[in-house]
């Protein structure tokens, strides 16, 4: 099985970015690198919703997401001359804004709870073992949609910044492993390991929710 994913055509979820879209982005980036702010504005308009959505998924606060999205785009503008075209512009941008969001979470003093540490060697985890402690039984018949959303957001807030990032990118943004790896600056194997432990954590926190749906 090839974990590397496709390399010639990047995809975002089930919606594929055609090569012409990538080409359009490259043309705009080249203009940006010559100081054309209007070209950058076009890129902002194109990707602002995705960027905002991704950051909001991580920080769970609309105002913070706004500020961090601004910060992310500013950083992208100031370092646009460093874009070499080895990855798509969107992936490159994603990496910048993801780091901005992760840094913000770290600055706010994310408190590590007893979550799964993906540094733990694989040999220490028995397949099929009781790695998912059974939660206390809670009545959740007929939860309203808003309550469910709050429960999910609360559960995601319990994840580390890195685990939040992979969950948001995989489950919400529907990125491929290689795209997540490029955005986070890590290997595909690391992405998959983080997904494993992030999902385990969410299973513990949300079992009563998804089992009653």
């Amino acid at each position: 099985m090839n974990f590397e994913g496709r390399t010639s055509v990047l995809s975002v979820g089930d919606r594929g970015f055609s090569e012409s879209v990538e080409h359009d982005d490259i043309v705009l980036v080249r203009r940006c690198q010559k100081g054309d702010a209007l070209a950058f504005e076009q890129l902002v308009i194109k990707y602002r919703s995705k960027v905002f959505s991704m950051i909001y998924g991580m920080v769970q606060n609309e105002q913070d997401a706004w500020d961090l999205a601004q910060e992310g785009f500013l950083k992208a503008w100031r370092s646009i001359h460093r874009f070499k075209g080895q990855a798509s512009f969107y992936t490159w941008l994603y990496r910048i804004v993801t780091n901005v969001a992760i840094d913000s979470l770290r600055r706010k003093g994310f408190k590590k709870t007893a979550e799964f540490d993906d540094e733990i060697a694989a040999s220490q985890v028995e397949p099929g073992s009781k790695t998912v402690p059974q939660p206390d039984p809670m009545p959740h018949q007929g939860l309203e949609r808003e309550e469910i959303r709050q429960r999910i957001e609360h559960a995601i807030s319990k994840l580390s910044p890195e685990h939040r990032a992979v969950i948001v990118m995989k489950e919400i943004e529907e990125l491929q492993y290689n795209e997540i790896a490029e955005a986070l600056g890590c290997s595909i194997g690391t992405v998959m390991s983080r997904l494993f432990y992030a999902r385990k954590k969410l299973q513990t926190l949300l079992r009563d929710v998804y089992e009653n749906l």
Binding site: M1, F3, A37, F40, E41, V44, I45, R48, S49, K50, F52, S53, Y56, G57, E62, A65, W66, A69, Q70, F73, L74, W77, D118, A122, V125, P127, G128, V132, R145, I148, R149, I152, E153, I167, K170, E171, I172, Y177, G189, M192, S193, L195, F196, Y197, R199, L202, Q203, L206, R207, V209, Y210, E211, L213
Partner: protein
């Protein structure tokens, strides 16, 4: 070689080939129930965590571009000359103005204008001595050495008409 976590993740996401998936399931049959749980979790997340609607996106862009291109955006294009060029033009203009105001040639180019003009000059007569006494509210000026007024002088005519 892929770790268990990586294989498990790929298996849940359907990223394994049919053969790989079959081999994994054969090796870990106890995980089938867990995979069902995880698929329910995925469905829960995807259904409830839809991307937040980005309200005021145009305002967002506007505020961002203000930081990227602060003052230049409000100026007409002809004014967006590099600041260095405008600085040079401005410095030259100031230097020229100072030169025109304070250059040595400027002093002789127009006749000087005086505020005050001397109409008449006189010298004091060494024979005449003036003294001033102030006593009892009266100021007395004594002039010694003044020639006597001739007898034929008509004192009734004012000095201005003489």
């Amino acid at each position: 070689m892929k770790t268990f976590e990586q294989l498990y993740t790929a298996w849940v996401d359907g990223a394994l080939t049919t053969e790989e998936a079959a081999a994994f399931e054969k090796q870990h049959p106890e995980l089938l129930k867990e995979r069902d749980d995880l698929l329910k979790l995925k469905k829960l997340l995807q259904r409830n965590l839809v991307p937040l609607e980005f309200a005021h996106s145009d305002f967002f862009t506007s505020k961002l571009m203000e930081q990227i291109v602060p003052a230049e955006r409000s100026l007409p294009s002809w004014f967006r000359i590099p600041r260095l060029a405008w600085g040079g033009i401005g410095s030259f203009a100031v230097a020229l103005l100072l030169f025109l105001l304070f250059s040595p040639f400027h002093k002789f180019s127009a006749p000087p204008e005086y505020v005050a003009e001397v109409l008449k000059t006189t010298t004091t007569d060494p024979k005449i001595r003036a003294t001033v006494d102030s006593e009892k509210g009266i100021t007395l000026i004594k002039l010694d050495g003044v020639d006597n007024v001739p007898d034929e002088e008509d004192l009734t005519v004012s000095a201005a008409n003489r």
